[in-house]
């Protein structure tokens, strides 16, 4: 990344430290507690997100992985209050976001950036790239020299400044995603939420975007919440990983803990499905097949919601809902038998 230094970014912008308590125990930048979103229809209630809790320290990165439909993207939208949570709390720099009014929430938004999955849908087809990137600047830094700042932002994400005059339809998917990142960074956020930022892209382009995000995180001291269904991608980007299944986190830990010593059978199954590029280190038939489809969130199984697909399921699993807890292992797992299951770490 040959981006120019970006002096006015992140911490240099205003004072984002409101509500911080310097000196004492560092509060998490983001603390999510019991977050839930239930969609009610006339007949049933869909629990898209059902009690998600995690913390994210400043400057760190957390990956949220799971199959499609498990509530990852809904979690992102709840944190940003693009959707209103049914229950739970979202604390940003110690400040409760769920209690804020629309107007108060709007003022916090300069601190929160998001990059969406589909770079075709996330850019307004009728705006030039300059206006797309300038949008956040106009709102939060109206005094700034827009042309100069837009040029800086475009260069920061690896696009030539003259692209400002182009329209989204003239760009490739990877270039569009760079624009989306530039737009998200324009107000100078400290937290960047990436919702499947590379899953719509070609594999070769995925690597470029992932490297860009890694560089940006380092240069701008960003905190990143990275949402993906792709464990290989998350492993590349994130220091900590949370695995979601049917609206809940079933396992959370550091990259090493989760990847090298998975304690939830679901995590183990996901890991065994990751393709290994080296034929000498293939899975040797240790691929864990999951039985059936992900259960309907409209009618989840009793007890452990994973038990219908789990080959280790026992009677207890149908009765008792396993909480996410340290169960004699080194990181929290939502499985009754976390300490005992013979789960093989993948190569």
């Amino acid at each position: 990344m040959a981006g120019p230094p970006f002096p006015q970014h992140a911490a240099a912008y205003g004072d984002p430290g409101e509500g911080r308590n310097p000196g004492s125990v560092p509060t998490s930048l983001l603390a999510v507690e019991g977050l839930a979103k239930h969609f009610s229809t006339r007949r049933a209630t869909l629990k898209a997100v059902d009690g998600v809790s995690f913390t994210l320290e400043e400057g760190r990165s957390l990956g949220l992985v799971g199959e499609s439909g498990c509530g990852k993207s809904t979690t992102a939208r709840l944190i940003l209050r693009l959707l209103k949570p049914t229950a739970g709390s979202v604390r940003f720099r110690g400040r409760e976001l769920t209690a804020l009014s629309q107007a108060e929430m709007r003022r916090v938004r300069s601190q929160l950036g998001i990059v969406f999955q589909d770079p075709y849908a996330s850019l307004n087809p009728r705006m030039t790239l300059r206006n797309i990137v300038a949008e956040g600047l106009r709102v939060w830094h109206p005094e700034a020299d827009l042309d100069r700042r837009v040029a800086e932002l475009l260069e920061l994400v690896g696009l030539p400044a003259r692209f400002g005059r182009r329209y989204p339809h003239e760009l490739s998917g990877g270039q569009r995603q760079r624009v989306a990142i530039a737009r998200a960074l324009a107000p100078g956020p400290s937290l960047l939420i990436c919702d499947e930022p590379v899953s719509a892209l070609d594999v070769s382009v995925q690597a470029q975007i992932l490297n860009l995000l890694a560089d940006l995180q380092y240069e701008l001291r960003l905190t990143i919440l990275f949402i993906s269904h792709d464990l290989a991608v998350v492993r590349h980007v994130c220091e900590r990983v949370a695995v979601m299944h049917l609206g809940r986190i079933v396992e959370i830990g550091t990259r090493a803990q989760v990847y090298d010593n998975p304690r939830h059978p679901y995590t183990a199954a996901l890991l065994s499905a990751v393709p290994v590029p080296d034929p000498a280190r293939r899975h040797d038939g240790r691929r864990v097949q999951l039985a059936g489809e992900i259960p309907s969130p409209l009618d989840p199984p009793s007890g452990c919601t994973f038990r219908t697909r789990c080959r280790h399921a026992a009677e207890r699993c149908a009765v008792e809902d396993p909480e996410l807890a340290l169960r004699g292992v080194d990181h929290p797992v939502a499985c009754h038998f976390a300490a005992d299951l013979p789960l093989v770490p993948q190569p």
Binding site: L82, R109, F116, S122, R126, N131, Y167
Partner: protein, 290 residues
């Protein structure tokens, strides 16, 4: 990175214009309509006779070299009246489209974007007005108001905006779920700016098309009203509608008096509709072909 040709960027508007140019009916209609508009606007200079000029020696003349479209019972030149009358018809059409377009867009935008109570109130109002029999409402309203041009514009605008409001609301409902609108919300862009910068530009196709259809409908409605004697009074000015209505008794004896304004109405409405169709096709951004 530099995979793009160094061609100058083409704006979506430019692409739309290009696509419009490929649609023959729309282009021809634009030319015909342009002729009609010029004829109406510059009627004072183009028309061979004055708007109310009478030649009592030449009553009910059939079309000839002097009177290209004949004369009426008062010895007025039919062509000159058509040209002057076009002003009112076109003015009513355009004004109704503008007013109804503005009201319909605003109502649809607010209802679609805010949802909830605002949506419920605005849409029930729209439904109620849509449920009323249009012609009856117009007739009653026309009685209550006057018989001037602006009274007619007001009355017709009052019942013309609902369709657009529904269309805009529907499109806004899908647009606001799109990620670029979510992205703007996530950036903290105020609602008014989201509507202006993100929603409106993406509604231009729907609005233009519906408004152009409204132009044709308003011209026809004005004619109907005038034909029924409820539109612009012939004592104010000639309109295609009141020419048609005033001369209905001469269908057999002096058919040019009926044919000329009738054809003027039909051709204008047809042109406007063709142009509307062309706009709909060319403003649709999903059509990528040039």
């Amino acid at each position: 990175m530099e995979s793009l040709a160094s061609e100058k960027p083409i704006s979506p508007w430019r692409l739309a214009l290009r696509r419009f140019g490929r649609r023959r009916p729309a282009v021809i209609s634009s030319l015909v309509l342009a002729v009609i508009v010029v004829g109406a606007v510059f009627a004072d200079w183009i028309a061979p006779f004055g708007a109310v000029e009478q030649n009592l020696d030449d009553i009910l003349q059939s079309p000839d070299g002097t009177y290209l479209l004949g004369t009426d019972t008062l010895g007025r030149d039919n062509l000159s009246r058509i040209l002057h009358g076009g002003r009112v018809s076109l003015l009513v059409g355009v004004m109704v489209a503008l007013i109804a377009g503005g009201v319909g867009t605003t109502v649809g935008l607010l209802a679609g974007y805010y949802g909830g109570l605002i949506d419920a109130i605005l849409m029930r109002l729209t439904d109620t007005l849509l449920a009323l029999p249009g012609l009856m409402v117009v007739i009653i309203a026309a009685r209550l108001l006057g018989d001037g041009v602006w009274d007619v514009v007001l009355v017709l605008s009052g019942i013309a905006w609902m369709t657009l409001a529904r269309i805009v609301r529907g499109k806004v409902l899908t647009l606001k779920e799109q990620e670029f609108v979510e992205a703007a919300r996530a950036l903290g862009v105020p609602a008014r700016q989201i509507m202006r910068r993100h929603l409106l530009p993406n509604l231009v196709g729907e609005i233009t098309v519906t408004a152009s259809l409204t132009v044709a409908a308003a011209i026809l409605a004005e004619s109907t009203l005038s034909f029924l004697g409820l539109g612009v009074s012939p004592t104010h000015t000639a309109t295609w509608g009141n020419m048609l209505g005033g001369n209905e008794g001469f269908v057999i004896t002096a058919p040019w008096l009926v044919w000329a304004p009738g054809l003027a109405i039909v051709i204008t409405a047809l042109c406007v509709n063709f142009i509307g169709d062309g706009l709909r096709d060319s403003l649709d951004p999903t059509q990528e072909n040039l």
